[in-house]
C-alpha cells in the first residue's frame, strides 16, 4: 500500500514535477540508433518525460534532439526537410541546426541577425552502443556518459530492442525487481524459450516455487536476491541489480546472453521498454540474434515499422486459453515480454497503489519506492545528486550462482556483481 500522494510523486515525470526533475539528472535512452540510420535521413518524433521533440541526424552525422515545433507558427518539424546540416520547416523555410539554433529565416533580409536570437530547446543526443542517449537536465550539471556494460561491449556482442508499453513507467519497472512472479508467469518460457531453456538453474527455479528473498542496498540502487533450494547443502541464488532510476538486469541462465531493461517514461501513461541482451565475452550467435528479432526472450515481436507489440491490448494480447490450459504458457499470453506487459497494462495507466495489498515477498518493491522517494526529496530539498548518476554505479552485473547455505550473497558475490572485463557472467 502506498499513500496516494506518494504514488503521484513517484509516477509523474513531466517538467517541473519532483520525479521528472530526478529523471532529468540522468543520461536516458532516447531511441535506438537504428532509427536514425543515415545522415540526412527522415527525422523522428520523440516524446520523453512528457516533452515532445524531434530527433534528426544532419548531413555531418551529428545527432540532434530539439523541440518538435517550429518557433514561427508552431508547425511540427517532423514534416521538415533534413538537408544541408539542418532541419528546415517546410511551412516557411525556417531552418535549425542540431542545437536548435535557427540558422536560416528566409523571410528576413540577407544580413539580418534575427535568427541568431531564435533557439529551440534542445538536448544532447549521443550514440553509445545500440542506443542514442539524451540528458534533459541543467546543462551545467551534465554528468559523465553512461557506462552500462551492455552498451560498451563490442557491437557483435549486444542487441537492443524497444517496445511501447501502455502504462506508467513505475508499474512496468516494478516487474523488473519482482523475482517471485518468474516461477509462475514465465514458467512456460523456462522450458521452451530458446534464450532461456537448458540452464541447470531453470530446474532449481521450477523445483522451488517459494523463494526466500534478501534485499541489500547498493551504491546505485539495490540488489535483490532470490534464494531457492539447490542441492542438499547449497542454495541457488538469483541476484537482480537495480540502478536508479529505471535500469534492471535479469539474472542469467547458463551461457545464454544476459538481459535487462530500461523503462523510460514517454508521458505519465506510457513508457518505452528497452530490452537488451549481451554477452560479456563472446559475439552473439546468428541463432541468438534471430531469436531476439523474432521476439523471444525479453524481446517482443512488434508490428512492422512500429514499436507496438503485435500482441497488444487491442487484441487482448492474443491470449490462447488452450495454451494456458495445456501449460505451454502460464497465462495464455505468448512471450516473456508480453506476459509482463499484458498484466502491467491491465492495472490501468497508473495503478492505484493505495488499494494494493503487498506481502513481505514484495520487500524489494517497497524498498525501491522508498529509495526513489528519499532521492527525490534529497534532490528537491538539498540539491543532492541521486544514486545512479555516477557511471561507477552502472558497472554492475546480475548473477545466478549456487552458494553454500551459510553464505551471504552480498559478500560471496561481490566480484560476480561487478563488471569484469574479459570475464564471463556468473551463471548456472
Amino acid at each position: 500500500m502506498l499513500r496516494a500522494e506518494i504514488n503521484e510523486l513517484l509516477t509523474q515525470t513531466g517538467p517541473g514535477t519532483p520525479m521528472g526533475e530526478m529523471f532529468r539528472q540522468y543520461w536516458l535512452p532516447a531511441m535506438l540508433a537504428e532509427e536514425l540510420p543515415d545522415d540526412d535521413c527522415p527525422p523522428v518524433r520523440v516524446k520523453l518525460l512528457s516533452e515532445r521533440m524531434v530527433a534528426f541526424r544532419d548531413s555531418d552525422g551529428r545527432y540532434g534532439l530539439i523541440d518538435e515545433f517550429c518557433a514561427h507558427r508552431g508547425a511540427s518539424l517532423w514534416f521538415g526537410r533534413n538537408e544541408g546540416s539542418g532541419l528546415r520547416c517546410p511551412y516557411h523555410g525556417w531552418k535549425y541546426d542540431v542545437t536548435g539554433q535557427a540558422i536560416e529565416v528566409p523571410s528576413e533580409p540577407d544580413n539580418s541577425t534575427f535568427c541568431s536570437h531564435v533557439k529551440l530547446t534542445s538536448y544532447p543526443l549521443i550514440k553509445i552502443g545500440d542506443l542514442l542517449w539524451t540528458y534533459m537536465g541543467d546543462p551545467e550539471k551534465q554528468p559523465p556518459l553512461p557506462e552500462y556494460e551492455f552498451a560498451t561491449v563490442p557491437a557483435d556482442q549486444t542487441y537492443t530492442s524497444k517496445r511501447w508499453q501502455e502504462c506508467n513507467w513505475l508499474q512496468a519497472f516494478e516487474g523488473g525487481i519482482d523475482s517471485s512472479h518468474v516461477s509462475f508467469l514465465h514458467s512456460g518460457g523456462l522450458k521452451t524459450d530458446p534464450l532461456f531453456k537448458g540452464a541447470k538453474g531453470n530446474q532449481y527455479n521450477m523445483d522451488d516455487l517459494k523463494p526466500y528473498f534478501e534485499v541489500a542496498d547498493a551504491e546505485g540502487g539495490l540488489f535483490v536476491g532470490a534464494r531457492r533450494n539447490a542441492e542438499a547443502d547449497t542454495y541457488y541464488w538469483r541476484i537482480t541489480p537495480w540502478v536508479m532510476p529505471c535500469f534492471t538486469m535479469v539474472p542469467p541462465r547458463g551461457d545464454h546472453p544476459v538481459h535487462g531493461h530500461f523503462w523510460i517514461p514517454i508521458d505519465d501513461e506510457n513508457c518505452w521498454t528497452y530490452s537488451f541482451d549481451y554477452h560479456p565475452v563472446r559475439p552473439l550467435s546468428g541463432d541468438e540474434v534471430q531469436a531476439m528479432r523474432d521476439g523471444h526472450g525479453v524481446h517482443s515481436a512488434n508490428i512492422p515499422g512500429t514499436f507496438r507489440p503485435m500482441a497488444n491490448k487491442d487484441n487482448d494480447y492474443l491470449i490462447d486459453r488452450e495454451a494456458q490450459r495445456r501449460g505451454d504458457t502460464y497465462s495464455g499470453v505468448k512471450g516473456i515480454a508480453m506476459q509482463d506487459a499484458s498484466l502491467q497494462e491491465s492495472m490501468g495507466p497508473i495503478v492505484d497503489r493505495s488499494k494494493e495489498m503487498l506481502v513481505s515477498a514484495d520487500t524489494g518493491i517497497i524498498k525501491a519506492r522508498q529509495k526513489l522517494k528519499k532521492a527525490i526529496e534529497a534532490l528537491r530539498d538539498k540539491g543532492i545528486t541521486p544514486p545512479g548518476v555516477d557511471p561507477a554505479h552502472h558497472r554492475v552485473r546480475s548473477a545466478a550462482v549456487v552458494l553454500p547455505r551459510d553464505a551471504s550473497f552480498v559478500e560471496a558475490c561481490r566480484d560476480d556483481l561487478s563488471v569484469r572485463e574479459g570475464v564471463r557472467q556468473s551463471s548456472v
Binding site: 500500500m1 526466500y212 534478501e214 541489500a216 542496498d217 487482448d316 490501468g348 495507466p349 519506492r369
Partner: protein, 187 residues
C-alpha cells in the same frame, strides 16, 4: 461503445453487437479504471513485530508510537541463551507501545492470531530467539520477515543468524525502512 462486426464461417456478416468499454481494449483506460470496486478489503489482521536485541528494541518502541492497524510490537522479555528443550516456551515477550501493560505474554500466545512476524534486529542479536521464533512460525505457517538495521559489514553476523528463519530479509541503514515496510504491508 464500439461496434463489432464478426465474419461468420460461411462468409456472411454476423449480427453487430455493441462492445462495452469494460470488455474491450478500453478496459485499461483511466476512464474505465474509475469503475474499479472501491470497498476496503480486510487484508492483514495480525502483524507481530519483535525486536531481537536492545538497540532494535529502541527502534521498535519508537515505531510502536505511530498509529497502526492491528499490529502489535514487542521486545524480548529476557534473552534466550540457547535453543534448549523449552522450545517456544523459552521465549517471553514484553509488549511495547499501545499494548504495553506489564504483561509478559508467551510467544505462542501472541502467534495465535498472527499472519506475519517481523523480526527487527541490529547487532548483538539473540540468535536463539530468532531460531525459536522462526521455527514456531514455520510450524504454524506464519510468514516471517527480518529487517536488519545497520551497515552490512556491521550486521553480517545478524543477517547470517536470521537468514534460515526469515523468508524475506532486508538490510538497511535507515530505521525508517521498518515503518515503510509495515505501512506497505498494512500492519
Amino acid at each position: 461503445m464500439t461496434e463489432f462486426r464478426g465474419e461468420r464461417s460461411d462468409g456472411g456478416i454476423a449480427s453487430s453487437r455493441p462492445i462495452l468499454g469494460s470488455s474491450c481494449a478500453r478496459a485499461t483506460t483511466a476512464a474505465e479504471m474509475r469503475y474499479r470496486i472501491d470497498r476496503p478489503i480486510r487484508g492483514r489482521w495480525g502483524a507481530r513485530i519483535i525486536a531481537l536485541d536492545p538497540d532494535a528494541g529502541e527502534i521498535v518502541a519508537r515505531i510502536a508510537e505511530n498509529p497502526w492497524g492491528s499490529a502489535r510490537f514487542y521486545t524480548l522479555a529476557a534473552s534466550v541463551a540457547e535453543v534448549g528443550d523449552g522450545g517456544s516456551e523459552s521465549v517471553t515477550l514484553r509488549p511495547v507501545g499501545a499494548a504495553a501493560n506489564g504483561h509478559r505474554p508467551s510467544l505462542l500466545d501472541e502467534l495465535d492470531e498472527a499472519d506475519i512476524v517481523v523480526m527487527v534486529a541490529t547487532t548483538g542479536t539473540d540468535h536463539a530467539a530468532a531460531t525459536i521464533i522462526g521455527a514456531a512460525c514455520t510450524v504454524r505457517a506464519i510468514m516471517t520477515a527480518g529487517l536488519v538495521i545497520g551497515e552490512y559489514v556491521e550486521v553480517a553476523e545478524t543477517v547470517a543468524a536470521i537468514r534460515p528463519h526469515a523468508r524475506v530479509i532486508m538490510v538497511s541503514g535507515d530505521e525508517h525502512d521498518v515503518i515503510d515496510v509495515l505501512t506497505a504491508l498494512r500492519a
